[in-house]
């Protein structure tokens, strides 16, 4: 009896999976696209912004696309199961939006050569796997300059998630920006080893403030740190989303991720049949890295920030332009040269002036 039941369930499941895939001719009209998020769409940060991008795709293409998403997917083996299911369910375009989804995405992509995959912030590609990321370090250079102008204690507090190149390069960019204004700026870094844990992010912010930091920057996903900064009357920078509501008197600006232009472009490519495996790294120039309004600062600081932003957008200024020295004093980038993208994407060292060590180094 149990066996028969199991078979029946299996059969039903099989039919359910086969269902959407059968009428290929009809399906060709409507593109099924799926997004995989590492956090909840309600994080008001990283995953929230990706979901805004998904909604923009729906709005842009209307009936021609059908989108789904899976939130709270743990990085690692569980992700492979989720991505596999999405591929089997007939999705032809799948965005996996966290660094830790890299290997699972590649594995599933190998088994589904007819599905297009897009992996955010990774560096491994395949024939049907593209990678994309945004040059958030451009925004971090700007906030570094602002921090140096606004801080009274000369100390930045930085809440970091995981010691991966994207986060390390963000810390360096902020510090280089700060040093361009005040060579003696200090930075205190706290790793919470999580992308999303509001209470811990708030604890980290409070710890940094207690230790004398009066400008808080974060590379985690919730507005908890902004809220903590507001409660303690220090300045802070929003992350991923404009968090001004959480820090009306604290937020100086926020580095906002706008994935909509990229998602629309890639969805269009699949619809037009022009999709190829690419590596896209958009920045301020491409509208992917957007600065929230500059608030709570004097006009002269605002002017400086706007000028820097314009210079980065036009290409006149590159945050990782030499000379740049590593912590131990060795020259990392020569005068007049710019650190190549590849080196930024694999960065695992701090610049001179950061009085700490990259964890696990």
């Amino acid at each position: 009896m149990r066996k028969i039941l199991a078979m029946a369930v299996g059969l039903a499941a099989g039919l359910a999976f086969a269902g959407p895939g059968l009428p290929e001719a009809q399906a060709a009209e409507k593109l099924k696209a799926a997004w995989v998020y590492v956090g909840p769409v309600g994080d008001f940060g990283w995953s929230y912004q990706h979901d805004q991008g998904r909604k923009a795709v729906e709005k842009e293409f209307g009936d021609r696309v059908e989108t789904t998403f899976v939130e709270n997917v743990a990085e690692g083996p569980d992700a492979e199961r989720v991505i596999e299911q999405l591929a089997r369910a007939g999705n032809k375009l799948i965005f996996t939006t966290s660094f830790g989804f890299m290997e699972p995405t590649l594995k599933v992509a190998k088994r589904h050569p007819d599905v297009f995959f897009e992996h955010a912030t990774g560096f491994k590609r395949a024939k049907n796997v593209s990678t994309y990321a945004a040059k958030f370090y451009e925004g971090r250079y700007v906030i570094g300059q602002i921090a140096a102008r606004m801080s009274k204690t000369g100390t930045i507090g930085y809440i970091a998630s995981f010691p991966i190149p994207e986060v390390v390069s963000g810390i360096n960019a902020m510090m280089l920006g700060a040093q361009s204004v005040n060579p003696d700026m200090k930075i205190k870094i706290v790793w919470v080893n999580s992308w999303f844990d509001p209470a811990k992010e708030a604890d980290a912010a409070k710890a940094l403030i207690d230790q004398g930091a009066d400008v808080i920057a974060q590379h985690t996903d919730s507005p908890a740190a902004m809220q903590a900064a507001e409660g303690r009357d220090v300045f802070a920078f929003g992350q991923a989303s404009d968090m001004i509501k959480f820090g009306p008197d604290s937020q100086l600006t926020a580095i906002v991720d706008d994935w909509a232009p990229y998602y629309i472009e890639r969805t269009k490519a699949v619809l037009d049949g022009t999709w190829t495996s690419t590596d896209t790294w958009g920045g301020m120039k491409d509208g992917e890295v957007v600065m929230a309004p500059y608030t709570n600062m004097p006009d002269e600081v605002k002017k400086m920030a706007e000028e820097t932003q314009a210079a980065i957008t036009s290409g006149a200024l590159h945050p990782f332009k030499g000379p740049i020295y590593k912590q131990d004093g060795t020259l990392a980038v020569k005068e007049g040269e710019v650190l190549p993208d590849k080196a930024i994407l694999s960065m695992n060292w701090y610049v001179k002036g950061i009085d700490d060590e990259v964890p696990g180094r």
Partner: protein, 307 residues
């Protein structure tokens, strides 16, 4: 680098961090002492956080929000009790289902409130006392949740150890057949204990969404319900050790952030694991020294009368 102001701030943060865990684990301790293992703590907590936030946001009353959070925790605990006690289903499976249900429900309840925030629950201020160096803010500058958690702890410890109700509750947890034979309503007592656990978990959730980080975000409990469950086991089901465990965990998790801020070069991955390590080691040592009282003998065993 260490002055009185920093030590005072650290102590105040430690108390706040420990309170969420203490509230949630205290309720679970009572449920388990009565013989029911409810793995739904995380689910009841997050539903409490969501309902508490939504109610407080809508009504403008933190007290109303807190009560609603407790009620939500109780409601979800009744779902669990209906399955695990009423229908005598497997408690582990029912508890896990409760957590999964709670996480989903909470996301749904709070979905319209993402990106909003509340004024944090007010903190006590007693002129003179709150300004005391080092311990002032930790002892006399906290929100109502902190004082409630201490009051509840004392009450639970007293009731369990010194009153007839506590004796009956423990008897049900140790040997439900004997308690039943003596005429005690085993299932009713267990249900009440589970409901108390639900109320405490809801209160813990409200502490997060109304006082600690007063906004709503899905999954904002971030696994604290599971830590609360573990604390109950490592405390060997004793309220005072539970207090020690929760405060130790809170202390190490705050201190490691400060150690990082000082830039001592200790790998942050190790520091992040430290609260778990320290709490496990400390509580294992305590229970080994006391050559332990084990788990309640009927813990996790479904009770079906007349069998």
């Amino acid at each position: 680098m260490l002055d009185a102001a920093i030590i005072g701030a650290v102590l105040a943060s430690v108390v706040a961090a420990a309170t969420t865990l203490l509230l949630a684990s205290l309720g679970e301790l009572v449920a388990e002492r009565a013989g029911t293992l409810n793995l739904g703590v995380e689910g009841m907590m997050i539903v409490g956080a969501a309902v508490g936030y939504v109610t407080a946001y809508g009504s403008g009353s933190l007290l109303l929000g807190t009560l609603a959070a407790m009620l939500a925790g109780v409601t979800l605990s009744l779902v669990f009790a209906g399955l695990a006690i009423g229908l005598a289903t497997n408690q582990v499976a029912s508890g896990l289902a409760t957590t999964i249900l709670g996480l989903g429900l909470a996301g749904l309840i709070g979905s319209g409130f993402v990106g909003t925030q509340l004024e944090a629950a007010p903190v006590l201020h007693i002129p003179g006392l709150t300004e005391l160096p080092i311990v002032g803010r930790a002892l006399f500058g906290q929100d109502a949740f902190v004082y409630a958690s201490i009051f509840l702890l004392v009450a639970v410890a007293y009731v369990l150890a010194r009153t007839r109700i506590g004796l009956v509750l423990r008897a049900v947890g140790e040997n439900h057949a004997a308690a039943h034979a003596l005429g005690h309503p085993v299932r009713r007592i267990r249900t009440l204990a589970v409901m108390f656990g639900g109320a405490c978990a809801g209160l813990a959730g409200a502490h997060l969404s109304l006082a600690y980080t007063p906004f709503w975000a899905s999954d904002m409990t971030a696994g604290r319900g599971w830590i609360a469950l573990a604390l109950v086991v490592f405390s060997a089901w004793r309220p005072l050790w539970l207090l020690a465990g929760a405060y130790l965990f809170g202390a190490v998790s705050i201190l490691q952030l400060h150690v990082q801020g000082f830039g001592l070069g200790i790998p942050s991955q190790l520091l992040s694991a430290l609260p778990y390590l320290a709490t496990i080691i400390a509580l294992v040592v305590i229970s080994a020294l006391k050559h332990g009282q084990g788990a309640p003998a009927s813990l996790g065993v479904p009770f079906v009368p007349d069998r």
